[in-house]
């Protein structure tokens, strides 16, 4: 079966997941993002590629940050952007997901940016559009359930490549709540596809997916061993609601074992970079001295995220 993200010519039609995406396609997105970075530094921060196109930000789950970066990216491509927080509109009146989509298609949508609490929702929308002969409408997954967050994965890859160049020489550690993190899943798929020398996950057993090794990563339960010799340390957000169950004793306890401090960071290479997808919990997964320190590339990640999303949208709209 054909990869549902690619068209008959092997070009990117939708961006649903990094899993199974060929390295050339990932590489092309990263390459294309490079010239988009400099657009933010100009007088007129806009290029006319998506002029006349209508992009719908469909957020069935709240996320101000991701929605905003997609909105900025689309606007810098000159698209018209409509933000819909569906969580508080149609579905509460009983409309189904695909009925919502059909209505927006009738309004001549060109692209859907979809955030949904259910894994697979963007996939379902893409299939629905194909079945209805609307394959010219593109779907971008902006985070679905625990499944994936491919543009976050891509911006992480872009950031790593920007500072560290060759993935085949790198050891990358992903630390914390891997179990609930779609960011981690997307990044792991991207890193392994691009031939990263070693990908590690570090966390307590209760916050790592079962059989996580099958994704091609090395598992560590202690920071001291896991961080040793790393080029890149990716900290994951510990979601507060996870604290309520039996997964963790307390935020303070978590910080003691898995929080990134200046001291623990010394175990990594001297020129290691520290990343975080945001929003950060200072004092829970990362110490302020690290978050604001010289190894941190957390804010450049945000800037690069806009360029990467511009690249994704302009490649999709041109295919």
């Amino acid at each position: 079966m054909r990869n549902p993200q690619l068209n008959a010519d092997g070009e990117l039609q939708h961006l649903l997941t990094l899993e199974g995406l060929p390295p050339e396609v990932i590489g092309r997105i990263l390459d294309t993002a490079v010239p988009f970075v400099s657009i933010a530094e100009r007088d007129v921060k806009k290029v006319p590629l998506l002029r006349g196109k209508t992009v719908f930000n469909l957020f069935f789950e709240n996320s101000t940050r991701t929605r905003t970066t997609f909105e900025i990216a689309a606007k810098r491509l000159s698209a018209d952007v409509i933000n819909l927080n569906i969580g508080v509109s149609s579905t509460t009146k009983g409309e189904t997901l695909l009925d919502t989509i059909d209505n927006l298609v009738a309004m001549n949508a060109d692209m859907f940016i979809v955030r949904h609490g259910q894994s697979g929702a963007p996939h379902l929308i893409a299939q629905h559009l194909s079945a209805a002969n609307r394959a010219h409408i593109h779907v971008v997954n902006a985070g679905d359930g625990r499944h994936g967050h491919p543009t976050q994965g891509l911006l992480d890859l872009f950031t790593i490549r920007h500072y560290k160049r060759d993935f085949r020489q790198l050891t990358v550690a992903i630390v914390g709540d891997v179990l609930h993190s779609r960011v981690a899943r997307s990044l792991i798929h991207g890193l392994t596809t691009l031939g990263t020398a070693e990908v590690r996950v570090i966390g307590p057993q209760t916050l790592l997916p079962t059989a996580v090794e099958s994704l091609g990563v090395r598992v560590f339960h202690h920071m001291r061993e896991g961080l040793a010799g790393c080029d890149v340390v990716v900290m994951l957000r510990l979601q507060n609601e996870r604290m309520k169950g039996s997964l963790l004793p307390s935020a303070g306890e978590f910080f003691k074992h898995y929080g990134l401090t200046v001291d623990k960071l010394k175990l990594a290479k001297p020129d290691a970079i520290v990343m975080h997808p945001g929003p950060m919990n200072r004092g829970v997964e990362i110490d302020s001295a690290v978050a604001d320190g010289r190894h941190s590339v957390i804010l450049p990640q945000v800037t690069f995220g806009i360029a990467v999303r511009m690249a994704v949208m302009s490649i999709l709209a041109g295919n």
Binding site: D31, P35, S38, V44, L49
Partner: protein, 173 residues
């Protein structure tokens, strides 16, 4: 494939520089259209008198065939490392054909600021214009069949060469 009917690129560049000498402002910026135009702008900066800031433009984000062809795979970053507002700019390209790349480049420049003037210098003018655009400085005029495109190449030693390729294989136009 090189073609006997094509002029020598280096000699043509010399003729182009002769025409520009004394005619272009001493502080005019030389902005080459990626990739051939950028190589020419670099060379011209050394051949002309005066202080000429260098820039280069990849017009991919401004092309009018994006809806048909999508985005090219290998993009370069546009760099205009001088104050565009009020500047005098010489846009440099290897081959002037339909005029569409030049149109795109002018649009892009204006997103950096309002230049005082823009002039156009090209190595080869092959006719076939589809837009009201003409070059002020031309190295050579040449008629070439529609199914061929003229490509400028740069050898590792920096010397420039012209060649003919089947249309559509190179950036062209």
């Amino acid at each position: 494939m090189t073609d006997a009917s094509l002029p020598d690129a280096e000699a043509t560049l010399g003729r182009l520089a002769d025409k520009m000498r004394g005619a272009v402002a001493f502080d005019a910026a030389l902005v080459g259209i990626h990739s051939g135009g950028a190589w020419l702008a670099e060379r011209l900066a050394h051949m002309l008198e005066g202080e000429h800031p260098l820039g280069s433009i990849d017009v991919s984000f401004y092309r009018d065939d994006y809806a048909q062809k999508g985005l090219r795979a290998k993009l370069a970053t546009t760099t205009l490392p001088f104050e565009v507002e009020g500047s005098r700019i010489i846009l440099v390209d290897d081959v002037l054909y339909t005029g569409r790349s030049v149109r795109a480049a002018i649009n892009e420049i204006f997103d950096y600021g309002r230049p005082q003037s823009i002039e156009l210098a090209v190595l080869i003018d092959r006719g076939g214009r589809e837009l009201p655009i003409e070059a002020k400085y031309v190295g050579a005029r040449l008629a070439v069949a529609r199914d061929l495109s003229i490509a400028l190449q740069r050898d590792p030693d920096g010397s420039l060469k012209l060649s003919l390729e089947p249309a559509g294989s190179a950036g062209g136009a």
